[in-house]
């Protein structure tokens, strides 16, 4: 029989306040297989860990159980301590008597009985634990970054600067993302393009970065360190290897398409470069709007292109790559005004969204930075900004705060005031949230010195009256309703994940939350990792955030990838499924239930094997296996029976 040691933690009063820990230790000592038991105030402290190490040696223990908090917190701590004392780490188990006992009960007697049973089940399991060795997996030291906004660019640059190759995939023809559309950035009012374009150029020129723009991830298989990725390079209809980017084709194209980059305030051709600083600065043909693709006639771009780079027959290409880690940085869109019927549903011409106003303010925008309203080009003198247009509205729209609107609306009002000195900006808000370095000061300056009028209340209705846009709101600070006959209304529409996020998350098998944003593994302590190993996230795709936070998160995700690539082999938890080949009937039920694609049919042996590197040890296949061929290491049927017996009070 094994000699098991049981160590019961008080966790201060977290456990000892509800559970009689001394009694748990005394009862544990009587359990079959237990050679030693004790309690201690903080097992996770260094003295606590030394106790475990000393007792393993003194008492000649060959397994230990720590009755303490959740294994999510300290399993690795105690397995390391056990290993230091010469034990196999898989001979150390955690009995969770805190989250699953002391924290949720108040009756001391009953809680103590339950704690004893919990320890009993783990003793039952540990008696039959095998010593295991970690699974060693090799790593392909090449990263994939999906999304070429500031998050993707920053992550790609950080990884590339560390010497590892990166593929940066972007669905549009240029990298840059929304940051390229912005005028100036709060709170310092740096010109957005001026600080972004050097990074875009670096990403475009970096020897370790392969840019794949106008491309989308088609399929991902494999596991951490060893992904196989298929990328669809959409047909650009232009041979980028010969195109010089002279721009003649884009000038001559007779098609007129609303420019996505300028939020529909200008038009572009069907062959176009989204904006002058695009990286790469090469055009694509938008086949849905190209006159030749629609009518079979035109080909004007082909005629003007002296080097013959136009290729109407170009096909999509599927490129396969081997990748070690994947960062998803898919960014955001904003809630369409069409979804907001009370704000005119997009039918009122001088009601625009924040990104459109960014273009109006931008020196490279449709009005070269002069504030003119879209309907008639008039310089607006009364401008109303409406915050929380779709945010913080759980009944009708989005329940969450879009986080950046308070600051960018203040910036908008401020920049407007700088351009139109005799104009009056008004901001309707529910709360002003200015958490960030220099943010509160920025807001105070706008309110105090720049004369921006903040009105506390939601806007109920916006409608057209002659050439005015009437805003009906309220000011709860005076208790009076407010009516403003505005010349222009700017809505801070809710931030939403990009349309493709859900589909991509499915392909990658990473999680999204209730509002469609990508989920992190832990909201505080693992904010850049996904639950699945080898996947990382950065930027607004994970949740609304501003540029500094996005850049920090991107560098954080890059750092995780670099740390992964700094090793030659990965060690994975060996407590995964295995197959008794003599028992397996080859029915393949396990393949259908495995969420990780870890079960593979072996044609030769006619059995289903386990890809240990992919298996996360969830146990689905073990439960589904009708012939008992699939078992989980250190969670065998006999171990589970032994645990059930203990939990029912038997031995």
């Amino acid at each position: 029989m094994k000699r098991i040691g049981v160590f019961v933690c008080h966790c201060g009063i977290n456990i000892a306040g509800t559970v009689d820990v001394e009694r748990v230790a005394r009862e544990a000592e009587k359990m079959p297989g237990v050679a030693f038991a004790m309690d201690y105030i903080y097992m996770c402290s260094e003295p606590g860990q030394s106790l475990v190490r000393e007792k393993i040696k003194e008492e000649k223990l060959d397994a230990v159980i720590i009755a303490a908090c959740s294994p999510n917190l300290h399993e690795s701590t105690f397995r390391a301590a056990a290993e230091e004392a010469g034990l196999n780490p898989w001979q150390c188990e955690i009995a969770n008597i805190r989250e699953q006992c002391s924290w949720i009960h108040s009756d001391r007697k009953k809680a103590t009985e339950k704690a004893i049973k919990i320890v009993g089940t783990i003793v039952g399991k540990t008696r039959l634990n095998e010593s295991l060795e970690p699974i060693s997996v090799s790593i392909t030291k090449k990263a994939l970054v999906i999304g070429g906004g500031i998050a993707g660019i920053q992550a790609a640059l950080d990884i590339a600067d560390s010497g590892y190759p990166v593929i940066l995939v972007e669905k549009d023809s240029s990298i840059g993302g929304h940051m390229a559309q912005l005028s100036e950035t709060f709170p310092t009012l740096d010109c957005s393009q001026c600080i972004l374009t050097p990074k875009m150029v670096s990403a475009g020129k970096h020897p370790n970065i392969t840019l794949m723009t106008y491309s989308e991830v088609e399929e991902v298989s494999g596991y951490v360190g060893n992904f196989k990725v298929k990328i669809r390079r959409k047909a650009t209809s232009v041979d980028w290897s010969t195109c010089t980017g002279c721009g003649l084709c884009t000038e001559k194209c007779p098609a007129k398409v609303p420019s996505e980059f300028d939020r529909g305030l200008t038009t572009r051709g069907a062959i176009y470069v989204p904006f002058p600083q695009a990286v790469p600065n090469k055009p694509v043909i938008d086949r849905d709007n190209c006159i030749y693709y629609k009518t079979g006639k035109c080909r004007l771009c082909e005629k003007v292109c002296e080097i013959g780079a136009i290729d109407f027959d170009q096909k999509d290409l599927i490129i396969e790559e081997e990748i070690g880690a994947i960062i998803t940085a898919t960014g955001y869109e904003t809630l369409p005004i069409a979804d907001l019927p009370h704000y005119g549903a997009g039918e009122v011409p001088d009601v625009i969204d924040g990104l459109a106003f960014e273009r109006i303010l931008s020196a490279s925008g449709p009005t070269t930075g002069e504030v003119r309203r879209p309907s008639d080009g008039m310089i607006p003198k009364e401008v109303v900004f409406v915050q929380c247009a779709g945010s913080r509205d759980p009944e009708r729209f989005k329940p969450y705060c879009s986080k950046i609107c308070c600051m960018y609306t203040t910036k908008h009002a401020l920049l407007y005031k700088h351009r139109v000195h005799d104009g009056q900006p008004y901001v309707f808000y529910i709360d002003i949230r200015t958490g960030g370095k220099g943010y509160e000061e920025f807001y105070h300056n706008a309110e105090e010195e720049e004369g921006i009028v903040y009105l506390r209340g939601k806007v109920a209705k916006i409608f057209r009256d002659g050439d005015k846009t009437v805003v009906w709101g309220t000011d709860t600070l005076t208790g009076r309703n407010i009516e403003i006959a505005a010349d222009l209304v700017v809505l801070a529409t809710a931030i939403v994940p990009t349309e493709s996020t859900a589909d991509l998350a499915n392909k990658l098998r990473i999680q999204t939350g209730p509002n469609g944003f990508l989920s992190e593994a832990h909201p505080k302590l693992r904010p850049v990792e996904c639950i699945n190993a080898g996947f990382f996230i950065a930027g607004v795709g994970q949740g609304p955030k501003d540029i500094p936070e996005t850049v920090a998160q991107a560098s954080g995700a890059a750092c995780k990838v670099i740390s992964l690539f700094s090793r030659d082999h990965l060690e994975q938890d060996p407590a995964v499924a295995w197959v008794d080949e003599d028992l397996c009937s080859g029915c393949r039920t396990c393949i259908s239930v495995c969420p990780y694609d870890a079960r593979e049919f072996d044609e030769e042996k006619e059995i289903v094997t386990v890809n240990e590197a992919l298996c996360e040890g969830c146990g689905s296949c073990v439960a589904a296996c009708s012939c008992g061929a699939t078992q989980q290491r250190n969670l065998s049927d006999s171990q589970i029976k032994s645990m059930v017996t203990a939990s029912l009070g038997g031995e």
Partner: protein, 147 residues
């Protein structure tokens, strides 16, 4: 419209805001006479919460400032608040933005007097009651009329 229909005007009509109100004569006058800057106020309400006479006022001091920001002169000069204010400086001392609210109150009283708005004066206290009014109170009432 209300007159036509023989109705009383609404008690709480919407404020129709435009830049002439926000940057209007009234706001500038208050700023100039008081030496304060109305738009420095971010409506935290500390002046109201610390005011020992707030319970007697029809409009809280912070809301007076808010109405002034939005150019609502009539409502302010018709309010009891500016006369109930004892100029005790509690609000001025408490203001996190350093606004001398007492000075704004003085200014508002001055504007009300200039407009000939009816107010409560010491001459309205009959001699019988005048004897019972504490001296600092009487002095305060005279002071309000002389600023």
């Amino acid at each position: 419209m209300y007159k036509k229909l023989g109705l009383d005007p609404p008690d709480n009509p919407p404020i129709r805001l435009d830049r002439t109100k926000v940057r209007g004569e009234f706001g500038l006058q208050v700023d100039e006479l008081s030496g304060q800057h109305l738009f420095a106020c971010y409506q935290c309400g500390n002046c109201s919460s610390g005011c020992p006479l707030a319970q007697e006022m029809d409009i809280l001091p912070s809301r007076i400032i808010r109405l002034a920001q939005l150019g609502q002169k009539e409502e302010i000069i018709q309010s009891k608040t500016i006369w109930i204010c004892a100029s005790c400086f509690q609000c001025t001392v408490r203001c996190p933005k350093g606004i001398d609210i007492q000075a704004v109150m003085d200014t508002l009283r001055q504007i009300a007097l200039d407009e000939g708005v009816d107010h409560f004066g010491p001459d309205q206290i009959d001699s019988k009651h005048a004897a019972e009014v504490p001296q600092p109170g009487l002095v305060g009432v005279y002071r309000k009329l002389s600023t």
